[in-house]
Assembly symmetry: C2
Homo-oligomer: 333 residues x 2
């Protein structure tokens, strides 16, 4: 686990989009976001207090999180200077960058000398077991998509927020680097070795209270040929009680695969449920989450109404219209 709260490092971000990780932390774990650190020329702004390292330290921040993508895949000398100062000031560092902090000799040396941790969340820090398939206590919900990047993480986070607001016992369980940085822990599933994928999901979502819900972050899609194995491992390692189908209706083709079309929601429902029932015969599909960001509101609402009628399941865009329907359906299990 990464020590919280965080100081969010925005570096010299060219725009707000580059600071997607920082935005996610600020949106979903505002209590972790003590302040932001911006370098000269930074064009991103999370609306948090701008702090020096010393000010953030005094305010209680434990970890400097790199909340921004780096240009050209290198950690620039200007960034490096700040990161070293942060280690010297007593911060841990956390990063989801492809190039690892631990591979930078100077950062590694200073971290060791100062007794600080470098969290590279793209690579597993745990030796995961092989999945044993034993039924676990507590309840689990998994978002599965017709494609990659259709809003599975946001769906789970929106549901977690709504459930906590209702006083329900619920935790988002991260399986990707952004989710891990947002919550401070999780499994970087796409970097796990094949034999241990399902086991890492069992590890992520252990036995829990009977009324507890894990909202497991989905990855990939059973219908996306590049990543379907990762999705399969989530379905079997997660042994979900509830599946939420996620869809983005305006895609011309599957993400990164020009020759492939997204499946229908019916096709996703049928195969995901068949596979989920191998690990949990009681699994049901409880709702549909549609990413309507590219649709005007009237069109989005009409589409959702059509899907509800056709599929006989509650359908919403939880980020745009709220997650109430999806949580009502979970609560009814």
């Amino acid at each position: 686990m990464i020590d919280t709260p965080y100081l969010l490092f925005l570096g010299d971000a060219p725009d707000g989009l580059a600071a997607k990780v920082a935005q996610g932390i600020k949106d979903w774990r505002p209590e972790f976001a003590i302040g932001q650190y911006r370098m000269e020329g930074c064009k991103a702004d999370m609306g948090l207090a701008d702090m020096t390292l010393a000010e953030a330290k005094a305010a209680g921040a434990k970890t400097l999180v790199i909340g921004v993508a780096n240009r050209g895949g290198v950690i620039s000398p200007a960034w490096k200077k700040v990161l070293i100062e942060a280690l010297e000031a007593g911060f841990d560092l956390a990063s989801g960058l492809h190039n690892l902090l631990r591979d930078e000799a100077d950062l590694s040396a200073v971290a060791t000398a100062m007794g600080r941790s470098l969290h590279d969340v793209r690579v597993p820090s745990v030796q995961y077991p092989i999945a044993n398939g034993v039924k676990r206590s507590g309840k689990r919900c998994l978002a599965v998509g017709t494609d990659c990047s259709v809003g599975k993480m946001y769906t789970a986070l929106c549901m977690e927020r709504e459930m906590r607001a209702r006083g329900m016992n619920a935790d988002f369980r991260a399986t990707g680097q952004t989710g891990i940085l947002i919550t401070g822990g999780g499994v970087p599933l796409d970097a796990v070795i094949a034999d241990f994928m399902a086991g890492s999901v069992e590890y992520l979502s252990p036995d829990n209270d009977a009324d507890h819900w894990d909202l497991i972050e989905g990855q990939g899609s059973l219908f996306h040929v590049s990543y379907s194995g990762v999705t399969m491992a989530l379905i079997h390692g997660g042994q979900p009680d509830a599946l939420v189908l996620c869809h983005e209706p305006t895609r011309a083709h599957m993400r990164g695969l020009p020759d492939y079309q997204a499946p229908s929601l019916e096709a996703l429902r049928d195969v995901a449920l068949t596979m989920a029932r191998v690990a949990n015969p009681a699994c049901v599909v409880t709702g549909i989450s549609v990413n309507t960001q590219h649709m005007p509101e009237a069109e989005a609402l009409a589409y959702l109404a059509e899907v509800e009628t056709r599929m006989g399941l509650p359908a919403t865009d939880p980020f745009r219209f709220g997650a109430e329907k999806l949580v009502d359906a979970l609560d009814a299990i």
Copy 2:
């Protein structure tokens, strides 16, 4: 690729079963098996000529293959002595042991000094790409099982032998360590990082002649919760034209999973075909391979007849009764 032919190292194997890898090489690539090297107390015998390192070298052997499991997961001093002598005599070494040759400082030093290769086939030696799903030329057959260890590798090897005997253009493509040692190359799929699994299968089975068949070694099962993600990646990375369903009818439960029962052949057919058609809409199920080793012959034949009638597909135990039916069905595509 591992240089062939081989001298098969049987070490001090306590019985023939411990020398499963050597047996596989001798059965399926007899032309690679120049001779065997047995230490004092060895209880395994492949029926090959016993050779000293010098004799095997003179006979043209290029690689000493560790064809036996090691006891207690350590490479004993007695083994080590032979392995070092082999490197000094100019052999490469190849091993599918969990503990890697390269991690032994003395072996590593001698190999470097002599300019020899240490092939640890349990770990990938290639940086595989992410799968792109682009349709490849040539034809592909994949064996998929109701469970793990039901005879998928043997099915593919039996079919390859029958196809080559008919003059067909066919290659077994190994995805596990035994298959890699048998054929000299392949992908150790269970050790590949999640994001690259399907890409490694695309790499294993590239574009080929229009009449060429790749017989891709299956792994795991879509219904085995520990390894289903690996199977999924094979189905999508392999983009098979033909699926052969593999089954072992006498199992009391799924391998290693006491709480799980094997699915029916119908259930396997339906979900495997649905998933395979995502990557190759023309995919068909062409036959059924039943591992009847635990059934008397009359019972086995009756079972196969029943399966043929029920499923409307040719069914055989290709190891016991020949692979003709399965190859006839492929040839008819």
